[in-house]
């Protein structure tokens, strides 16, 4: 499972795992019914205390993204991916916007500049959708 831990932005590690698994499920890089790595495996991969994985999986289970099956492992919930609450989705995006605006402020871009740049980037991305699916998947990661 492709998860990256970043220790410089102050987000708790279990929260980073929760957010990234939700993203992987929402973008169908993890499919319904697909098995997640066992706690020990993911802890060894990410070099984090196993209890952090327990906490992250617990929260993902509570929010219905994954399910534990007795004795067999942890799986992405079947059926349509649970819509993440609007409040939660806004929170994730707003954090990104805040740091973007802070950077922009430091580099002397106005918020109008930023809005224009976002539209330009989006247009560039839309042009690339003609590329083969495999390549696109790599790019948007």
């Amino acid at each position: 499972m492709d998860i990256t831990i970043n220790l410089t932005d102050g987000v708790p590690i279990y929260r980073q795992i929760v957010n990234q698994v939700k993203y992987l499920v929402a973008s169908r890089l993890l499919l319904p019914g697909e098995e997640l790595p066992p706690i020990r495996t993911l802890a060894l991969q990410l070099k984090v205390t196993p209890n952090t994985i327990v906490k992250a999986y617990g929260e993902l289970e509570t929010s219905g993204v994954i399910q534990k099956r007795q004795g067999s492992g942890t799986f992405v919930s079947e059926g349509r991916p649970q819509p993440v609450a609007l409040r939660e989705r806004r929170r994730v995006i707003e954090q990104r916007i805040d740091s973007l605006l802070a950077e922009a402020h430091q580099l002397n871009f106005s918020s109008d500049d930023i809005l224009r740049m976002v539209r330009e980037r989006k247009a560039t991305m839309d042009e690339t959708t003609a590329e083969p699916a495999e390549v696109k998947k790599e790019k948007t990661r």
Binding site: I5, A43, P50, Q106
Partner: protein, 301 residues
């Protein structure tokens, strides 16, 4: 109440006229990882040596598995794995002799685990301890500390002076001790990113005193790092409420602060500034902020 694996109460230790530990309390419960941080000489090793019964408390009490490690060293040490900072090992032994020697004291020795680690580390069993490199010594010491699957694993600066590969081996051993057996791990480290990754709880020791202790995520929530911009230039760091560490120059400052963000914003506003960005502080930032530097001593960059 949950059974404590380690329970240290009001431990003080004097070396001659020096107060090495000053009323230190520390508790560890099963299945959790505890990270000890603090400057060299702050008292981390002294605390760990008390847990092993190598030092006797001047005042206060130390209990490991409910036992006093000074009065019942066998009862305690048979259940504890220890990797010392100096990696003291019998120099004259070969690696395989060290394994057999350790096994003799520990009926729970897991020979297949020991063998697996020897293979993973590519350690030559016929090599003498005194001929091992620093990294190999750490690996040999680690096998001797973990292969009998102790209930409590104590690692004193396990990563000190080691390259990235051996550091990874040590982190793997911590993960396995906790994930496979629900063991308890206490480790000290000056590598704060390692502590941040590997610890469920963090304890900061400064000048023999515990200055910060708790669940890592809770501790982190109490501190924030904000970027602040002022209307006027400051040649000296501006005085701000709840600020612990300021770095920067002129109009732009980066501040580590504790307590509520609202209070901090108000105090920035009162000095004619605005908070541009805030986020939870990293352990490294908290450590620097708490390391005793006050904001007037920080030089403008």
């Amino acid at each position: 109440m949950e059974q404590s694996v380690v329970d240290v109460k009001e431990l003080s230790r004097w070396f001659g006229g020096k107060n090495a530990l000053d009323r230190v309390s520390f508790r560890a419960t099963a299945g959790q990882v505890y990270g000890l941080v603090g400057a060299n000489g702050a008292g981390k090793t002294t605390l760990l040596k008390h847990l092993l019964g190598l030092l006797r408390a001047t005042t206060g009490s130390v209990r490991v598995f409910g036992l006093d490690p000074v009065r019942d060293p066998v009862g305690v040490l048979s259940r504890v794995g220890y990797l010392s900072e100096e990696r003291e090992l019998p120099e004259w032994m070969r690696v395989d002799e060290l394994m057999r020697y350790t096994q003799a004291y520990h009926p729970t020795w897991d020979a297949s685990y020991a063998h697996e680690l020897l293979e993973t580390f590519a350690l030559d069993p016929a090599k003498k301890i005194k001929d091992l490199s620093k990294g190999m010594r750490a690996q040999a010491g680690l096998i001797a500390a973990v292969a009998y699957r102790p209930e409590l694993l104590i690692l004193d600066e396990p990563s000190s002076g080691l390259d990235a590969v051996v550091r990874r081996d040590i982190l793997d051993a911590i993960v396995r001790a906790v994930a496979d057996d629900g063991r308890t791990v206490i480790f000290s480290s000056h590598l704060l990113d390692e502590v941040e990754r590997m610890s469920d709880h963090v304890t900061m020791i400064q000048n023999g005193r515990v200055t910060l202790s708790g669940v890592l995520d809770d501790v982190r929530r109490d501190y924030q790092r904000s970027r602040v911009r002022f209307a006027e230039h400051f040649n000296q760091p501006p005085i701000l409420d709840t600020a612990l560490l300021l770095e920067g120059s002129g109009r732009t400052w980066s501040v580590i602060h504790s307590g509520s963000l609202e209070n901090f914003r108000a105090s920035v506003l009162a000095r004619g500034g605005e908070v541009v960005e805030s986020r939870d502080a990293t352990l490294e930032e908290i450590f620097l902020a708490r390391a005793g530097r006050n904001n007037q001593q920080v030089e403008a960059a």
